[in-house]
């Protein structure tokens, strides 16, 4: 577990050629850790048939609506997504 509640993070902008659970509209976006969950097997590895997928901490990340949809987010919109640790970077770090 690398991040704690309140930490600022950004999502990875990468576009891997396999099953991946960061939707395009959430890539390379800044958010804030809202909850830290248990470690769960990484879906990317499970989807590829890995018999022992790595266990990674899952986080609830909150994004301001304007960060996700710069044009047209309703005011005061906050978007929540559950994301695995390897999908995230510290906010200051470039992808």
């Amino acid at each position: 577990m690398t991040y704690g509640v309140g930490d600022l993070v950004r999502t990875s902008g990468r576009d891997p050629a396999h099953h991946y659970r960061v939707p395009r509209y959430l890539r390379a976006k800044r958010g804030r850790i809202e909850a830290v969950h248990a470690a769960f097997p990484l879906a990317d590895a499970r989807a590829a048939g890995d018999p022992a997928p790595p266990l990674e901490t899952l986080y609830t990340v909150a994004f301001d609506g304007g960060e996700v949809w710069p044009e047209g987010a309703e005011p005061n919109t906050v978007y929540h997504a559950e994301l695995w640790e390897s999908y995230l970077l510290p906010a200051a770090e470039l992808p």
């Binding site: 576009d15 891997p16 396999h18 099953h19 939707p23 499970r46 996700v68």
Partner: protein, 92 residues
């Protein structure tokens, strides 16, 4: 490679049609596909992520023309062929 299922937030698909009192299934075969998928996962033939991956691997030229449960059926068919459960000629 962004997969063709990842259309959240894209414009150009027109408005989302909302169906009042939408039934769980629109015909019986859809319920059968739903049940078949649950059964095959419960039996350990594949897991949910492998199923999602199989749906995302549908030929792009066909994907958008298929309905939701038609995509499920395609995903199931891909997996039972790849795992040698059903010979390809039978699953056609």
């Amino acid at each position: 490679m962004s997969r063709l299922n990842d259309v959240g937030g894209l414009t150009g698909f027109g408005p989302i049609e909302r169906e009042p009192d939408e039934p769980l299934f629109h015909s019986e075969w859809e319920a059968r596909v739903f049940a078949l998928n649950r059964l095959l996962m419960a039996r350990g033939l594949y897991n949910l992520d492998e199923f999602r991956d199989a749906v995302e691997r549908i030929d792009p030229a066909r994907y958008y023309g298929l309905s939701y449960y038609e995509r499920w059926f395609e995903g199931i068919r891909t997996l039972v062929i790849e795992r040698g459960i059903v010979p390809p000629e039978t699953a056609a």
